[in-house]
Symmetry: C2
């Protein structure tokens, strides 16, 4: 599978989740993948529409996934991307307009869910988003 095809699947999942009012992340993908042998993860590429948060970064490292393809990192970028590279993971950013548009819409329409998802401290942001 090439990266464009992989990212298209990730985008489809993100869009489905958006339509249901949620936001799917990398941990959901790992959960859905079930309990696989360690070598399967190690030989996988993770496709994700947005830049991984700190927890997903940790999950990627725990599973020893060696390659991560990111749709876009302009809506959100945590320290995870750099840390993944530092730990030897290949990180590819596709700069995909479709992913960006979806994420921008999601953040605009559901700021409360978004802020909680990325662990923003401060009640005021949460309240504002409700």
């Amino acid at each position: 599978m090439d990266d464009a095809a992989g990212l298209a699947i990730a985008f489809k999942e993100a869009k489905k989740s958006y339509e249901q009012g949620g936001i799917p992340g990398e941990t959901a993908t790992l959960l859905n993948a079930g309990r696989l042998p360690a070598s399967t993860y190690a030989n996988s590429t993770m496709y994700t529409t947005l830049s991984p948060c700190d927890m997903c970064t940790g999950a990627i490292l725990l599973y020893k996934i060696r390659r991560v393809v990111i749709g876009e990192n302009s809506t959100f970028k945590a320290a995870g991307e750099d840390y993944l590279r530092q730990r030897g993971v290949e990180v590819v950013v596709m700069d995909d307009q479709e992913c960006r548009t979806l994420m921008e819409r999601f953040v605009r329409e559901s700021p409360g869910v978004w802020w909680e998802d990325i662990g923003v401290v401060g009640e005021e942001k949460r309240e504002e988003g409700r």
Copy 2:
């Protein structure tokens, strides 16, 4: 609550889980804590019997927990501890003998579960542990 009392609670949970054949981690604690305001996590200390794996390290960062007290780090130590410090989290290692004894016993008796939990690559280790 002082650190010894906090760690005693973590140890009790780890022992209960050991008796049930499992191994509880930091993510289980966060799950059991439910959905709390972001400021509650930020003002919390995480007590854990062993050194956090990469995924738990990521969870701690996502929740913006500022202080982590670790029972012992001689049985297991991932890169997480250093990364937490690098990101400004206060990390205290208690060097607790009771925690070490429990973990050593768990690793000896259930190597398969242990290796899978820390994401060890290589089927041979998994097979060996079964």
